[in-house]
Amino acid sequence: MASIAANPPKRPSSTVREILLLILIRTAYALLTLFLVSIVVFVISGLLPGDAAQEMLGQSATPGQVAALRHEYGLDLPAHIRYLSWVRGMFGGNAGRSIVANMPVSEIIADRLPNSLVLAGLTTAIAVPLALFIGIYSAVKRGTLIDRALNITTLSMVAMPEFLVATIGVLIFAVHLRWLPSITLTSKDTTWGEFLRSYALPVLSLAVVVIAQMARMTRAAVVDQLGRPYVEMAVLKGVPPRRLILWHVLPNAIGPIANAVALSLSYLLGGAIIVETIFNYPGLASLMVNAVTSRDMALLQTCAMIFCGAYLLLVLIADVAAILANPRLRSQ
């Protein structure tokens, strides 16, 4: 990478070791945060006395019945023991039993997780190239009318609630044009055409905010590079604009851009909650919403930890990208 070559390569092996150490420290920091987050999630969700055992047996249950059911699910053990067995269980792939569905939590999640990953994957595949194009294009055209128009558009899109995007999408593509179904139904024997058509609106609703956020951060990263002396040098040298962007600027902006991509993708986690619900999509986020409604704490805790883990992973990737890209950060 160009930024590494710019450093005086006196002792390359020690620089590599320093970078690895820094990445290791960031990883350890992320794991520590995940541990603290798990305590917060566990404490909050166990704070009030009413639990699913009470909820399941209803008003007429005798205290004895409730106590027996609580004992069966281990809800009567001291908090720190429940916490330890919960954490141990999660690492072993056994996250406890859902008291409402009467199934192991891991089975329910194994059923839903692939759906969420497909939705997130499709959205990423569409959002990243489009956002990078918009971001780089408006950075190159900075100050022009088209850049200002794109700026206001993305600025508005960042603050857009998903259900408005979903509603407008349905209105245009399902009601007026009749191109797309308004409800996502996935079954085993769908053709590729049906598959893509049924995913189009959920992916669109999720992608709008991600694209806007990512494009804004990409633009900022590229504009930052365009103000550097080496760009001026290249321009004075007579490098054609296309080559200037592709060969000189982008290699230097790749770190900040990767950082922007990872941070923007973390938005998918929250957006999925609305989009999966509005389109009746059987993913992890709508599962978590159901767990809240039925006060199914074992399921809720596990879903929350999966989302928090995914978020911390994306932030870690963003951090590492920033470290790899910026030689000054490495010495901190």
Binding site: V41, A166, R216, C308
Partner: protein, 288 residues
């Protein structure tokens, strides 16, 4: 006389503030003023009582009697929207005020005490920031429920750590300034230093951060109500209106479009205004 003079000066300052905004900022400012007015006056302007069944047709289109059509039970959408905006904006204002006041107070406390107080508080806030806001909201609602007061508190808890982080970084920088050092050397107590020397100098960025938190909370509460976990019937905020009428989605009913557009114009308006504020350097963070 002097009172009148002050008013005109204030007016002309307001006018020049507005005049100096770029076009997008003017639009944002207008949207914000419009919605604040709706939140205050809305119920007085409502053409029908909020819960009244005014027509036999559900999901009616716009007409002279019902500007925004009718909802899934044949109630007037405009009337419900005018009152719903009061819930959305009121709760979000309350939540944002609470988040910014506690976040900034804790940040000042950490800054003047330094040492392990600062260390422990910052560590704790970093942990809370690492929980995606909507996931955090779901866990809190599952644990505590969702009365109006709880929703306000939940919103404040979720967006307080972000304000703490910004206020702390502002306060730590100001704490190193000469005039603060002088005040310390004079023997002023930490409360005086925090409240008189540091706080007044961070008000402008804090105001922008307040607007940002307000926007986040509007979106968060709208999402929660949309999921049926926010404002509970018979109360209805804008998110609840979207949820109630979700059965009109396949037909693209006006009853679901109108409250969605209302939420979007509030949040987009605030966002355009924040972006146009003078002296802003940061971009909007991905905290949503």
């Amino acid at each position: 006389m002097s009172g009148a003079g002050a008013v005109t000066r204030q007016q002309s300052r307001m006018r020049s503030f507005f005049a100096e905004l770029p076009l997008a900022g003017k639009i944002g400012f207008a949207l914000v003023v419009f919605w604040l007015a709706v939140a205050v006056l809305g119920p007085l302007l409502a053409p029908y009582p909020v819960g009244a069944f005014v027509t036999n047709d559900v999901f009616e289109d716009s007409s002279i009697h019902h500007w925004l059509g009718s909802d899934y039970l044949g109630r007037d959408v405009l009337s419900r929207l005018l009152l719903g905006a009061r819930y959305t904006i009121g709760l979000a204002l309350g939540g944002a005020v609470l988040a910014v006041v506690t976040g900034t107070a804790l940040a000042l406390f950490a800054t003047v005490n330094r040492g392990w107080t600062d260390e422990a508080l910052s560590r704790f806030m970093d942990t809370l920031i690492s929980i995606p806001s909507r996931i955090f909201a779901l866990v809190l609602v599952a644990a505590f429920g969702s009365s109006l007061l709880l929703l306000l508190l939940i919103a404040a808890i979720i967006y307080m750590p972000g304000n703490y982080r910004i206020a702390r970084s502002l306060a730590v920088n100001l704490n190193e300034m000469d005039y603060v050092q002088v005040a310390r050397a004079r023997g002023e107590g930490s409360v005086y230093v925090a409240a008189v020397e540091i706080l007044p100098n961070m008000l402008n960025p804090l105001l922008a951060d307040f607007a940002l938190r307000f926007m986040f909370i509007v979106l968060l509460l709208a999402s929660l109500s949309f999921l049926g976990l926010g404002v509970q019937p018979p109360d209805a905020d804008l998110g609840s209106l979207v949820r109630e009428n979700v059965s009109g989605l396949p037909d693209g009913a006006l009853a679901i479009l109108a409250p969605s557009v209302a939420i979007a114009t509030i949040t987009v308006g605030v966002n355009l205004l924040i972006d146009a504020l003078p002296g802003r350097t940061r971009s909007v963070p991905a905290e949503r």
